[in-house]
């Protein structure tokens, strides 16, 4: 059946930043299909230039209130690699533990508050709280735990002030870690309920083969450091990230697009799951089974299911790290001082939305000379468009409303953080 369709979703809701979906089909033929990004480009690179490297992680952690730990970690790893700073075992354990805290916080927010409303046929988490309060209360409970875990190590909620080049300026006590361990164990029940909830949701069925890119490590499910690995085969040292990202400007988006060997690739929880499935915690693998998720999964809507799998993994691994820290005890350590010699380095992490790169050049005076930062959402944009081009012809006959919802859900599935757009309050006195 020939179909005409014109969709123009101005500002997709429940995603970060301003993205417009534009679809135009005539007589069943797709003429236009794009995700327009209309945010103002940000200028972090310029903000970092000329600033002491010790400030870089604090500045970049403000890029995002959700990925503050992720940006701080990538930033610190870039400086540490540039300056040849080695980390102690204890620092590694604490860095990993706070990372799990942020992974939980972000995934719970996305899965419960941004994606779940679609399946309950409500517009946002607020009406969802009206019809399923236990679901939202559970999400808030889990978010509190995750936030407290980040604050215990990072020194405060949202933006981690205690993380510094070479270590931490403030350390948690063993007693605090013991309490956190108990709380994580008690949260297993909520985690099980989370898997049960998401396994019951009718995920849209749409598959498109693409390339998945994630960090990987020989001995663990990689979140910090590793080798850039793709499901098309091949791996790269993080220093060679530009061979993977190949950033290019496109006319309809103020964010750059990236492509490796195909027209696009995907990063994020599903990419990590596809690349590193074998290294998931056994309980996370069980959750994947329950959710019907097997590598290589080519349904982008399942990115949220992969996040649920990572929620299970993060809680279990965080408990393991707490055990290790309790057994070792916490030792006071002094982060190394600047030795008066600059250098260049790349830091890379798997933040909740996918692989993130920070690349700094630091002068002998300890100031940042050059900085480059490539965020995960930028890397996903070309892939989202390729999905849209494949999906629309399959569902064109369902009509405007259903196609629009399917596309909005698709964009949301990628958990895009298009920008931390201008968001001050508007106040009207009554």
């Amino acid at each position: 059946m020939a179909q005409n369709l014109k969709i123009d979703v101005h500002h997709v809701t429940r995603v970060e930043g301003h993205g417009n979906i534009v679809i135009n089909a005539k007589n069943g033929v797709l003429e236009e299909c794009k995700l327009e990004i209309v945010e103002t480009p940000r200028f972090f690179e310029a903000m970092l230039r000329g600033r002491p490297y010790t400030e870089a992680s604090h500045i970049t952690s403000r890029i995002c209130g959700i990925c503050a730990v992720g940006h701080a970690t990538a930033s610190l790893r870039a400086s540490e690699n540039a300056l040849g700073v080695e980390l102690s075992e204890q620092t590694w354990l604490l860095r990993k533990l706070i990372f799990f805290g942020e992974m939980l916080d972000s995934h719970i927010l996305h899965a419960y508050m941004l994606v779940a409303p679609d399946f309950f046929n409500v517009g946002s988490v607020i009406p969802l709280a009206g019809i399923a309060p236990e679901v939202v209360l559970r999400a808030l409970r889990m978010k509190k735990l995750a936030g407290d875990l980040c604050a215990m190590i990072g020194g405060r909620h949202t933006h981690p002030i205690a993380m510094t080049v070479g270590g931490f300026t403030h350390l948690p006590t063993v007693d605090e870690i013991k309490t956190m361990r108990e709380r994580l164990i008690a949260a297993r029940n909520d985690v099980d309920e989370t898997v049960a909830l998401f396994k019951s949701l009718p995920w849209p069925q749409f598959n498109r083969e693409t390339e998945y890119v994630a960090l990987s490590k020989p001995d663990e499910y990689a979140f910090i450091d590793g080798t850039i690995t793709t499901t098309d085969g091949g791996s790269y040292h993080i220093n060679d990230y530009r061979q993977v990202t190949n950033e290019r400007c496109v006319q309809h988006s103020s964010a750059k697009h990236t492509a490796h060997k195909r027209e696009s690739y995907m990063v994020g929880a599903l990419a990590r799951f596809n690349v590193n499935y074998k290294q998931l915690h056994p309980k996370a693998k069980e959750a994947a089974d329950a959710l019907g998720l097997k590598p290589i999964c080519t349904n982008p809507y399942y990115n949220t299911a992969a996040q649920v799998v990572e929620i299970v993994h993060s809680v279990e691994e965080a408990i393991k790290i707490c055990d290790e820290l309790i057994a070792r005890g916490i030792k006071k350590e002094t982060p190394p001082k600047f030795a008066g010699k600059g250098g260049a380095g790349v830091g890379s992490c798997e933040v909740p939305r996918g692989i993130l790169f920070h690349n700094y050049e630091i002068g002998d005076d300890g100031k940042v000379v050059n900085a480059n930062c490539i965020i995960p959402t930028g890397q996903n944009l070309a892939n989202i468009e390729a999905d849209m081009r494949a999906l629309v012809p399959q569902i064109l006959e369902q009509g405007q409303e259903k196609v629009t919802l399917a596309l909005e859900m698709l964009v949301r599935a990628y958990d895009p953080c298009i920008s931390c757009s201008v968001h001050f309050l508007n106040v009207k006195f009554v």
Partner: protein, 157 residues
Amino acid sequence: MKRTLILGLGNPLQGDDGVGCYIAETLQRQMLSDDVEVIDGGTPGIGLLNLFEGRQCVIIIDAAEMGLPAGEYRRFEPHEVVLTGSNQRFSLHRTGVIDALALARELNIALPKIVFFGVQPQSVEWRDGLSPRVQAAVPRVIEAILYEMEGSQSEKV
């Protein structure tokens, strides 16, 4: 748990949007009553609700579009105003304040007394630091906050 929370919100990388964080940082260096905690909350989104738990009073300092000259500030409580996000949609970031309050209502979560100090920004473009007019307003806003706390302290007695 300290009974009064002073919470600065905003993104210091977005010019005057960071005024709340700037004021929180300044207040952290001052001697305040033992019962007061000051947090530079950044852009916490809906997680805000968890920071309210167990408090008696929360003072939120934030940039607010009020149609006033830049640097003017107003004290208001949630029932006195209509709050909307700058783009009127559910988002993870600052509309967090609005969503957190709406969510608390929907879930019947008891909230502490909430007082806003809204500061009219001049510019929220991506840049570091406050504009001169908002910078100049900072001591006045701090004075007003300290006065507010004196009031709430004497309420307790």
